[in-house]
């Protein structure tokens, strides 16, 4: 157990966790744009910046990203100090110049007292805040199809050589996780288009509805060892199959079954059967 302080409140941290994880666990709000518990923290958005100090530092305080800063004995963290507030407002001011049309940025900025940007907005803005969540999610899925390219003001999220990525499986995790929803994913006539690549959609054997890409199915079967037979039907048709088999059991055990709402008498309970392998 690591004993430390957040905003002068005594808290107990677990060895090895980050200041952000600890703050979230004990109910201290720190805003973030690039954090997901399942993904490696990257410190890209800087919005989770907090001030830290140790008793031996003579009151000197350091500004750090809480998602990357490990907890330590006697550490003192300040999440709402004037310097932290100013830093967050400046970051959001800059983000607003970069993405003036993104509702999430507008809302966050307004919450921190920034209504309009004091910088010159980009000439051709898009909604990408370069948080890198899409890149890390893609790595997590195991496709490694996108990455950040170039640096400084030229930094972009791109595919290798700016060509349609061979490794992409078209799962759409990048588009789902994007906080500003700026990754374009289109679906039409059994084809999903993302990153300028077209993916054939798998059709349900029963109802012919398109529900996932063929490439994603192959990827999951190969990489995660799942049965190919799981992917023959869409979720709705799978439910229908469960319903049919349960109904079959009812009609077999109660041949004269009349539903309650149609005047059926309450049925005697089914005999109990022991089911080996089922947890008590």
């Amino acid at each position: 157990m690591v004993k430390m302080f957040i905003d002068d409140r005594r808290v107990e941290a677990q060895e090895g966790e980050s200041v952000l994880d600890l703050a979230r666990r004990v109910g201290v709000d720190i805003p973030t744009l690039c954090h997901n518990e399942a993904l490696e923290p990257s410190g890209a958005c800087r919005l989770c910046s907090v001030e830290v100090t140790f008793p031996g530092w003579d009151g000197w305080r350091k500004l750090v990203t809480s998602c990357l800063y490990p907890v330590a004995e006697d550490l003192r963290v300040y999440t709402q100090s004037e310097r932290v507030q100013k830093t967050r407002a400046l970051l959001l001011d800059l983000l607003l110049a970069r993405c003036p049309d993104a509702p999430l940025i507008q809302r966050l900025a307004a919450e921190h007292g920034v209504r309009t940007t004091s910088f010159v907005p980009r000439a051709e803005p898009d909604d990408c805040i370069l948080c890198g969540l899409c890149v890390r999610a893609c790595d997590k899925v195991g496709a490694h199809a996108i990455t950040t390219a170039q640096r400084g003001q030229h930094k972009v999220i791109a595919t290798p050589f700016n060509e349609p990525p061979e490794e992409c499986v078209g799962c759409g995790a990048c588009a789902e996780i994007c906080p500003t929803q700026c990754i374009e994913l289109r679906e039409a006539e059994g084809v999903r288009s993302i990153w300028e690549r077209d993916f054939e959609l798998l059709r349900c054997q029963t109802c012919q509805a398109a529900f996932m890409t063929v490439a994603e199915r192959d990827h999951l079967v190969k990489e995660r060892g799942l049965e190919e037979s799981y992917y023959q039907e869409c979720p709705s048709c799978k439910r229908q199959r469960v319903a049919e088999s349960m109904a079959e059991v009812v009609l077999k055990t109660h041949p004269d079954f009349v539903p309650k709402q149609m005047g059926g008498e309450p049925l005697p309970p089914l005999p109990r059967v022991s089911r080996p392998g089922v947890r008590p």
Binding site: K140, E176, L226, C234, P235, V242
Partner: protein, 134 residues
């Protein structure tokens, strides 16, 4: 351990459970959800369909982010929304079609037994859904 008992013979297809589930999981008791229980009628038999909390679950095996975890308290498999990356692998892997996806919040949705007090069972007027020792 308590379990969610489903008895189609008692069900009247009133779909109260669907509304209660939508209220708990999406904050609005709308018939369209998102919710994680559904009642379907096959011939004369209404069947409430929800997650079976499999011992060896396909959703867990499919999730690359380790976002679906077993609760020690209730035995339910719960989605940790802060870990979900939205790849929908679980939704497509579940052999029973019991995984859902919230388009609004961009995270997977599944029955978590309402953290130990299933709303569907509480609102079921006929005991077709019951939260009891089994």
């Amino acid at each position: 351990m308590k379990r969610l008992l489903v008895r189609p013979t008692e069900c009247t297809h009133c779909r109260n459970c669907e509304l209660a589930c939508a209220f708990y999981h999406s904050g609005a008791p709308t018939p369209v959800g998102p919710r994680v229980i559904e009642v379907r009628r096959v011939r004369t038999v209404p069947v409430p369909l929800t997650c079976l909390q499999c011992d060896e679950a396909a959703c867990v095996a499919a999730c690359p982010a380790d976002a679906i975890r077993r609760s020690e308290e209730t035995g339910a498999l719960e989605v940790k929304p802060h870990r979900c990356i939205g790849c929908r692998a679980c939704e497509h892997a579940c052999p029973f079609g019991a995984m859902y996806f919230s388009e609004e919040r961009h995270v997977a949705l599944k029955c978590d037994l309402c953290k130990g007090n299933p709303t569907c069972a509480a609102f079921c007027p006929t005991d077709a859904l019951r939260w009891a020792e089994a």
